[in-house]
Structure formats: C-alpha cells, structure tokens
C-alpha cells in the first residue's frame, strides 16, 4: 500500500483539456473518490495514474516515487475497468491467474492466491467457468478478485458498480467498503454517482471540466460546498438555488433579499459579499419545511403551492412553487398537503448557503442565530 500524489496533472486530447492541472493527495490506505458528471475527465485521470495515458505536465508519485515515466506494469497498480475487461476466452481461474503468472509468481503460489481471493469474494464455485456465462454481479466480483489477487500498491476503480442494478449496487457498495477495511488498501475510485461518493469515500474530489472543484470529506462536500456546482451536484434531491440580492453587508452579518422576504444571516465570514451584489441562496430540501414554523429554528418564507409529490415511503419529496420559483422540499410522509394546496413554507436560516451569482463560488454559510424577517423589517 502506498500514498498517491498527483501534482498539476494535465492531459489534452486535441483541443479538449480532459484533465486540467489536477492536484490530489491520497493517503496510504485511504479510500478516495473522484466524483463528477460524465465527460469531466475522471477516467482520463485514472488512466494517467495507471500509465495508460501519458502526462503532458505535472507528475504522479506513488509511495513517494515519481512514476510519471514508468510503464504501466512497473507502477504496481491494479485497475477495475468500467466494463470489467475480463478475458472472454479464459476461465475465471485463468482470468485471475493470468496477471499473476506474468509476474513470475510460482505455480502453487498462483493457485493458492487465486483460491484465497476467490473464497474471499465467494466466487470459488465459478473458477472453472467462462465470463460469458456469468451474471453482471459475478463478473464484477471476478474483476475485483483479479485486482485484489495482484496485491498492488494502489487500486484504481472506474465506475465499477455502474452496470449493476440498484439492489446489487448497494450490496456491492457495502462489500467494497468491508473489503477496503480488511485490506487497508489505497483506493482511487471513480464514480458519477454522488451516493457512492458520499457513502464510500473518506475523501471526495469533485471534478468539473477536468478541474478539481473541491476536495474534502463527504461531510465537507455536503455541508460546505465550494460552489453552486458542487452544491447542486451532491445531494439527492439537489440543493435549492434561489436568486437574491445582498441588501446590507457587515462583518459577521449579511442581509439578503429573496422574493418578498429578507434573510438576516449570521456567520463567521461574509467578506466575499458587498451591498447590492447578486447572490444565489442555497438551501437543502431537508432544511425547508411545510406548515407554520412551530420551533425556534424555522422561519416563515412565504406561502407556496404544491405542484408534484413524490412519496418514497419513509419520506416524501414535494415540488412546490414559491412566487414563481420551483423548490424541492423533503418531508416526513404524514399529514401531507394536497396537490395545488397553498401552504406556508418555512426555512432554517442557519443552514443557508450563499454563492456569488457571477462566479458561483461560495461566499459563506450561515450559522446559528440567522434570522428571517418579513420584507422591510431588517432595513
């Protein structure tokens, strides 16, 4: 196992910059996730680390050694490909053993390792079969087994669960996590699925157009998004974004006008704001509430109309209209308003995020003590 450092990695295909000055530090034994929409350069970055693509600029260190120029075989990394890349003409056993034999590992040692890994992944009974006869989940296990048997310094996984069905995916998510704890392996895991990123990674790097937008723990990414892209990409349903204007900016406090209401927000630092500045106000669906506020946290935002209701069983997601803006609210499933019904909408001001409307960059998040007042009250 080893630490992975990516420093200023750049890779272009023709005029498109697939990876643009990416820095990433993955500690020894850490499970790091690259998260981003399709086409943002995740696979390319992974292939750069594997050595399947050549860096244009920057360098890659593995266990402190610069491997930027090293051949893929000399990097001691194992990759799980998106579509498994199993050798269809070989049995499962041979699929796993093929790479081991190439590493000049003795015959009995190869057999032992294959048996051990197969047992760990519960595919022992499949060893004699060909990949073509296996289900998607089984192929996935074989691909994992092949990578694990190599005992590499680093695992690279390119959306390994994306072709599994929802149920299998959540099972494999947990299994991968267990496996990671047991092996203590360094993993760089690519996904476009924010649920996978949140649940699996101890570090998440959000990529957009080849650049890292934010690197942090899942909680950081969720609770302190660096910009409105991260805010809307992470979380399901995504964060609500409303346009507003800064009415007053003072050290430690900012007043924002939104619709017919104004928010007085307290926070540690609002230095990015200025009076008259356009902002986007971000609030997560769970920080909105239907009905008159009956606790000290929530404040009334206005009356909204219910447009769509999506019952999930344990909760219900409501799409409401507030003075022309569409908002998503997450509520418990009991006492729901009808379609078209007008209900009061309350907000938790302490959980509001502000983003600069022109750059999208976060200018601060509210803390305890933030207040919502009816329009004019704060002026």
């Amino acid at each position: 196992m080893a630490r992975l450092q990516i420093e200023g990695a750049v890779k272009s295909f023709g005029s498109t910059r697939a990876v643009d000055r990416v820095d990433l530090d993955v500690a020894d034994g850490e499970f790091a996730v690259l998260l981003g929409p399709s086409g943002c350069g995740k696979t390319t970055l992974l292939r750069l680390v594997a050595g399947l693509e050549q860096l244009e600029q920057g360098r890659i260190l593995l266990g402190g050694r610069d491997v930027s120029q090293a051949a893929p075989a000399d990097r001691d990394v194992a990759m799980v490909f998106q579509r498994y890349a199993l050798y269809p003409n070989m049995t499962v056993f041979e699929n796993i053993a093929f790479g081991l034999r190439a590493r000049k590992i003795g015959k009995s040692e190869v057999a032992q390792r294959v048996e051990r890994v197969a047992a760990a992944l519960e595919i022992s009974q499949l060893l004699g079969r060909r990949p073509g006869t296996l289900s998607g989940g089984q192929r996935q296990r074989v691909a994992l087994a092949r990578a694990i048997s190599r005992e590499p310094k680093l695992f690279l996984m390119d959306e390994p669960l994306s072709s599994l069905d929802t149920k299998l995916r959540s099972t494999m998510r947990a299994e991968l996590k267990r496996l990671h704890h047991r092996l203590g392996a360094t993993v760089l895991y690519v996904t476009h699925d924010q649920v996978e990123a949140m649940t699996m990674g101890s570090k998440v790097a959000v990529l957009r157009d080849g650049r890292t937008v934010q690197v942090g723990s899942p909680s950081d990414i969720y609770h302190r998004p660096a910009d409105d892209f991260v805010a809307s990409f992470v979380g399901s349903p995504p964060m609500n974004l409303l346009d507003g204007t800064v009415v007053r900016a003072e050290p430690g406090m900012v007043v924002v006008g939104v619709g017919s209401a104004s928010l007085t927000l307290c926070g540690t630092d609002w230095s990015g704001t200025a009076s008259g500045m356009g902002v986007r106000i971000g609030v997560r669906p769970e920080d909105l509430r239907l009905g008159p506020p009956h606790d000290s946290r929530h404040r009334l935002l206005g009356d909204c109309t219910v447009e769509v209701s999506e019952p999930m069983g344990h909760e219900t997601v409501l799409h409401v209209n507030l003075g022309g803006d569409s908002l998503v609210v997450r509520t418990s499933s009991d006492g729901l308003p009808e379609y078209g019904e007008k209900v009061p909408l309350a907000i938790d001001p302490a959980r509001v995020h502000l983003f600069d409307v022109s750059t999208g960059v976060a200018v601060g998040a509210a803390t305890e003590g933030s207040v919502l007042s009816p329009v004019g009250a704060a002026r």
């Binding site: 594997a50 050595g51 399947l52 490909f81 579509r83 269809p88 003409n89 093929f98 790479g99 190439a102």
Partner: protein
C-alpha cells in the same frame, strides 16, 4: 429488424445458397474460361465474406420446416422471402447452377459439342481414367498439394503480420490508410496484368528477382523456366496478389478486440508475446478459420496467374515439364487444349469434390479450436 427475415431457416437457406456459390466459385470465377458466369466483383465477395466472418454464418444451416400444413401465412412468408432473391436466383441458376449440373452430366459422356444426342455414354470410364497415371490427373494433385500447402499457411502468417502492422492502434504510422490501400490494391488488379509484371521481375537476365539474389551473393535462378522455381515464382505472385484480402479480414478481426483487454493485461505486467498468444490469437480464431478456408478454395482454383506466367511453354500451360500444372490448369489443358470436354468435366467434378471435402474437414477441425464470442 430488416435482417430478421434472413435469420429464419428459409431465408438462411437462400443466403447459404449464395454463400455456397462463392465457396464453389471462389474468386477464380472470372479467371476460369470454363465458366460462363457473370463476373464477381471483389467488393461483392468481400461484403459476403465480411458478413460471413461477422455473423459466424459457418454454422450449420437449418432446413425448411417440414411436416406442417402450409397455411396462407406460411405461403405469404415464404413468398416474402423468395421474391426478393428471385432475380439473383434466376441469374445464378442460368449461369452457375445450371452449368454446374450440366458439367456433372457431361462427365459421364464422351462429350460432343453438338449435344447429348450426339455424345456417346461413357459411364464411369472417365472416373477410372482419373486414376490412370498416364492421364496426368494424379501428378496435378501433387502440384496442387504443394501449391496449396504453401499458400495457405504462408497467407495466414503474412496477412496476420501485415494486419498487425496496419492495425488501428498503430497510430504512429503516418499514412496508415495509404499503406492499407497499397496492400489491398493487387487484389483488385486483373491477374493477367499483374502476371505480366511478375514475368518481368522473374526474367532470368534482366529481372529484379535475380538482381536481388545477386545483391546478396546468391546464385541466379531460372525462375519460370526452372522445374524447381516456376511454382515458387507463381506462389510469390499469388501471395502478393491475394494477401490483401486476408489482411482486410484480419484487420476487421483486430478491430473487434476491446482495447481494455490489452490494457488490463499490460497493467498486470503481461508481455506482448503473451498478449498476442492469449488474447489476440483467440479473438482472431474465427477470422483465421475463414482465411484458411477461403485461401484453400482460392488456391485450389488458381488458374489465371499460373496460366499467364507459365502458360507459354509446352503448348498450353503448366510450366516446364508440367511443374506448375495444378489440377485447375490440368482441367483447362484437358478441356480446351486437347478438347476432351467430357474428361475435362470429370476433372472439374473431382476438383469440386476435393475442395468440398477439404473445407468440411477444415471446418470440423477448426470449429473445435475456434473461440466465438
């Protein structure tokens, strides 16, 4: 799916008929003066073979469903299958299947150009004559075996080598498509034209071949006038001329190998030799089988280039002392130099049976070693 109809047994049988025609006729059809068939364009053959390799159409073909009462819809379905291929069937029937049946009939007669009524029934005497050492048929088999025995493995190796050099992932080579065209061009050039070039090259005094030999201090060779070297010279011509076709097949096969497989292997430290042996070759096995079968058929029937290069000597082809008289050339000599039409037809039937037998054996042996996805 518009192709669906041809997946049905009846449609398949029709497609199989068309394919069979290519097997029997091969691309030697335009060369053989015995056949009055329309010229088969290389593109046409290529398309069919491409289809063949792509869909593994070498599988046994189903027979039309029997024992069921023909209903209205059955007739309609059959008609919708038959009508579209009818024009082709008529043309093929007139110029290929008809003559083919006629040839079989002719082989039992001392054939007279005036027709069956003027011809004397010969029974099996022609077939007995085949085995008579005086007839020249048996020696022609030896020459054919030599020619085919070299051409088939040499074509497979050479075509594979060229395909590996010209494959898609060879991005470093500039003008890749130019080189591909260069390799394929001889295949679509008339064999008489290319033969003239090669006769020139193999000229004992002024030819390039001997010049090259002199350059590496090897003794000059009589080439086309030598009993030893005439057939190898023809082989070089045939190889140069036909390898491009197999290269195209191998290129298609190579492009179907997922690059991820090679990358996975490279990451695991598998060397290029093992990648070639354990990944590339298995993937190419169906194509290899197709190349082997098609080259066998083509080589068994090669006539044009042999006749053009070595036909002048000994009155009507066949090289010095018959050293290039393959069975196809022998057939021409018997029928169109000596005018023994009936016996010529017998040789044709024998050649057909030989090719068919060989192909069936190759298929049996090959399919077991072939890995289909």
């Amino acid at each position: 799916m518009p192709r669906g109809r041809f997946r049905e047994p009846r449609g398949q049988a029709l497609v199989a008929l068309c394919l069979l025609r290519h097997y029997v006729a091969g691309q030697a059809v335009p060369d053989l003066p015995t056949s009055g068939s329309p010229v088969v364009s290389p593109g046409n053959v290529l398309a069919n073979v491409g289809e063949l390799a792509a869909t593994n159409a070498l599988e046994p073909v189903g027979v039309a469903p029997g024992g069921r009462t023909p209903s209205r819809s059955w007739w309609r379905e059959t008609a919708s299958g038959v009508v579209p291929v009818l024009p082709a069937l008529v043309v093929l029937g007139t110029f290929v299947y008809g003559p083919a049946v006629l040839v079989v009939a002719m082989s039992f007669f001392h054939w007279n150009l005036a027709g069956f009524s003027q011809s004397q029934f010969a029974g099996l005497s022609h077939y007995r004559a085949l085995l008579n050492p005086v007839s020249g048929f048996v020696p022609s088999l030896g020459v054919t075996a030599y020619y085919v025995g070299v051409m088939v493995p040499a074509t497979v190796v050479m075509a594979l080598l060229l395909a590996m050099l010209l494959r898609d992932s060879t991005k470093r080579v500039r003008g890749l498509s130019f080189f591909r065209a260069v390799v394929f061009l001889p295949y679509v050039t008339p064999s008489i034209a290319t033969a003239v070039i090669w006769v020139f090259i193999f000229d004992p005094q002024f030819g390039l071949a001997n010049a090259a030999l002199r350059l590496v201090h090897l003794p000059a060779v009589g080439w086309l006038s030598s009993t030893h070297w005439a057939l190898p010279a023809v082989m070089i011509d045939s190889m140069w001329k036909q390898v491009g076709f197999s290269v195209v097949l191998f290129l298609a096969g190579l492009s179907r190998i997922p690059t991820e497989l090679m990358e996975a292997a490279r990451l695991d430290g598998v060397g290029p030799t093992a990648i070639f042996r354990r990944i590339v070759l298995p993937y190419l096995s169906p194509v290899t089988l197709a190349v082997v079968m098609l080259t066998t058929i083509a080589s068994m029937q090669t006539f044009g280039s042999i006749y053009a290069m070595t036909g002048g000597q000994g009155g009507g082809g066949g090289g010095p002392i018959g050293s290039t008289t393959t069975t196809a050339v022998y057939l021409y000599k018997v029928a169109f130099v000596d005018f023994h039409y009936g016996f010529g037809a017998t040789v044709a039937v024998a050649l057909f049976v030989l090719i068919l037998g060989l192909i069936l054996v190759q298929r049996r042996v090959g399919e077991r070693r072939t890995f289909y996805r």
